[in-house]
C-alpha cells in the first residue's frame, strides 16, 4: 500500500505548513518508508543549508554611509512629524545629530530629537506633512540661516526674550559660554506655534552660527522646558567641557566682537 505524496506535500510537511490530518498521514507513512523519509529530509536539509549559507551576510557590517543615510532619513521623518504629544515624555525618542563643531575628536555623536519647528527656524526648511522631504544635507541642517535667528543670537542678552523677526516664534537667550575649543556658544530656547519648546545650543563658526545640539520638549508650563529635557542638555554641555556661563559684561564683549 503506497500512498503517493507529491514533493509539494512533503515540502509543506517539512516546513510545518501542512494541515494536521495530512501531516499525520505523512508521519504514519514515514514509519515504514525509508525513501519517503529521505525525501522529507531533503527539504529540511535544503532549508537549513540555505539558512546557514546566507548567515554570514547577516554578520557583515552595514556600510557606514548606508547607516548614516538611513539615520538621516529617519531623523527627517521624525522631524516632519513635528513635536511630540504633550503627554509624552520629552526624551522618549532619539535620533542622531552629528556634531560639526570644531574639535569633535572621538566624542560620541549626540543623539537628540530635532523638531520641525527648529528646522523651519534654521533654514526655512519645512518638510512636507506627507513625509516626502527634499534631501537636506547635514550642512544645511545645522547652519543657522534664518535672519531673525541670526540677529537674535548676536544681540539678545542672556535672560532676555524676543519675538523673532518675520516669525511667530519666541527666542529666549539662556546662557553664553565657550566650549573646550574656545568657540563661542549660546544656549537658547525657541517657542513655536505648536506650543513646544526647542532647547538648543548654537556655536559661532565664522561666518555664521551652527546648531550643535537641539532637543524638543513640550512646553506645558508657560513656555519653559521641563527638567527632563534639560538633562540631555546638561550631559551635552558636560561632554563639550562647556565653561561656566559668562557674566553680562563678558557676554556683551564676546557678542560685540562678532560684528
Amino acid at each position: 500500500m503506497t500512498t503517493e505524496f507529491s514533493d509539494e506535500i512533503l515540502m509543506r510537511f517539512a516546513d510545518g505548513e501542512l494541515d494536521p490530518d495530512t501531516a499525520a498521514q505523512v508521519e504514519r507513512a514515514m514509519e515504514s518508508d525509508d525513501e519517503l523519509v529521505t525525501r522529507v529530509a531533503m527539504f529540511m536539509e535544503t532549508r537549513a543549508a540555505a539558512k546557514d549559507a546566507l548567515a554570514p551576510l547577516l554578520e557583515e557590517p552595514v556600510p557606514d554611509h548606508l547607516t548614516a543615510a538611513v539615520e538621516r532619513m529617519v531623523a527627517e521623518k521624525k522631524a516632519a512629524e513635528g513635536p511630540r504629544e504633550p503627554s509624552e515624555p520629552a526624551d522618549a525618542s532619539v535620533v542622531p545629530f552629528p556634531r560639526r563643531a570644531a574639535n569633535d575628536g572621538n566624542r560620541a555623536r549626540w543623539i537628540v530629537p530635532i523638531a520641525a519647528s527648529l528646522l523651519a527656524a534654521l533654514g526655512g526648511y519645512w518638510l512636507g506633512a506627507d513625509g516626502a522631504s527634499a534631501p537636506v544635507g547635514n550642512t544645511d541642517l545645522v547652519a543657522v540661516s534664518d535672519p531673525g535667528l541670526v540677529e537674535a543670537l548676536r544681540t539678545v542678552a542672556a535672560g532676555d526674550e524676543r519675538q523673532l523677526a518675520g516669525s511667530n516664534q519666541r527666542f529666549r537667550a539662556i546662557a553664553t559660554f565657550r566650549d573646550n575649543a574656545q568657540t563661542l556658544c549660546r544656549e537658547f530656547e525657541l517657542d513655536s506655534a505648536q506650543s513646544s519648546t526647542v532647547i538648543s545650543v548654537a556655536c559661532f563658526a565664522d561666518p555664521g552660527w551652527r546648531v550643535t545640539f537641539a532637543v524638543v520638549a513640550p512646553a506645558d508650563s508657560g513656555g519653559y522646558a521641563p527638567a527632563s529635557s534639560t538633562e540631555a542638555l546638561d550631559a551635552y554641555l558636560q561632554a563639550i567641557d562647556a565653561a561656566p556661563p559668562m557674566t553680562v559684561e563678558e557676554e556683551t564683549q564676546a557678542l560685540s566682537s562678532l560684528r
Binding site: F43, A50, K51, E59, M73, K77
Partner: protein, 180 residues
C-alpha cells in the same frame, strides 16, 4: 495618530542587516544592494503610514525592496543597458567556467542559490532564510500561494541537485523522532 511603538522609523535602522542580506542575495552585488536598501528605506519612510501595526515589518520591507528591484530590472531592460547586474559574483564568486565545473564538482550552497532562476531564488530566500510563511511570501511576491509552493519545491530540488544535498544527513534526525 499611529501608535508610537512599532513605527517604521523606529524599526528601520535595526533591520538594515537583514534587509541588506536580502538585497545582496536578490541582486548579487553589494553596491547595487546598498543603493537598493537606501531607496527602500526612503520609500518605506514616505509610506510609513501604510504599514499596518501588528503585521510583519520584515515582510513589508522585503516587499518594498523587491518591488524596487523589479523596477530596476525593468528599467535596465527598457533602457537597453546590459551591464550585468545579475551576475551574482558577490555571493557565488566570479566563475565564467561555472557551467563546466558544475559537471565535475558540486557547487557550494551559496553558489547554487545564486545560480537559481530569480523566481525560485527569491521565494527560497523569503521562506527558508528569512522564515516567512508561505502566505507571507505570497504577499511579498504578489503571487498565489500555490505558486509559492511550486517554485519553492523546484528551488529546493535544484539546490539539492547542484550542491549534492541528499537528505541523508538529516534522515537520522527524523528517524530518531526529531520531527517538526
Amino acid at each position: 495618530m499611529s501608535p508610537r511603538t512599532g513605527r517604521v522609523e523606529d524599526q528601520l535602522v535595526a533591520f538594515l542587516p537583514n534587509l541588506r542580506r536580502f538585497a545582496i542575495s536578490l541582486c548579487g552585488s553589494r553596491d547595487v544592494a546598498d543603493d537598493l536598501v537606501q531607496a527602500a528605506c526612503e520609500r518605506a519612510l514616505a509610506n510609513a503610514e501604510r504599514f499596518e501595526q501588528g503585521t510583519r515589518f520584515d515582510a513589508w520591507m522585503f516587499r518594498i525592496l523587491r518591488n524596487l528591484w523589479i523596477d530596476t530590472i525593468r528599467r535596465q531592460k527598457t533602457a537597453g543597458v546590459h551591464e550585468d547586474i545579475s551576475e551574482r559574483q558577490d555571493i557565488a564568486g566570479a566563475s565564467g567556467e561555472r557551467e563546466v565545473e558544475a559537471r565535475l564538482t558540486l557547487k557550494s550552497v551559496s553558489e547554487a542559490i545564486a545560480d537559481l532562476p530569480d523566481e525560485q531564488r527569491e521565494v527560497l530566500l523569503l521562506v527558508c532564510v528569512e522564515e516567512l510563511s508561505y502566505r507571507e511570501a505570497a504577499d511579498v511576491l504578489a503571487i498565489p500561494i500555490g505558486t509559492v509552493m511550486s517554485r519553492l519545491a523546484r528551488a529546493r530540488k535544484n539546490l539539492a541537485d547542484a550542491a549534492g544535498i541528499t537528505g541523508e544527513n538529516m534522515r537520522s534526525d527524523i528517524v530518531h523522532g526529531a520531527k517538526r
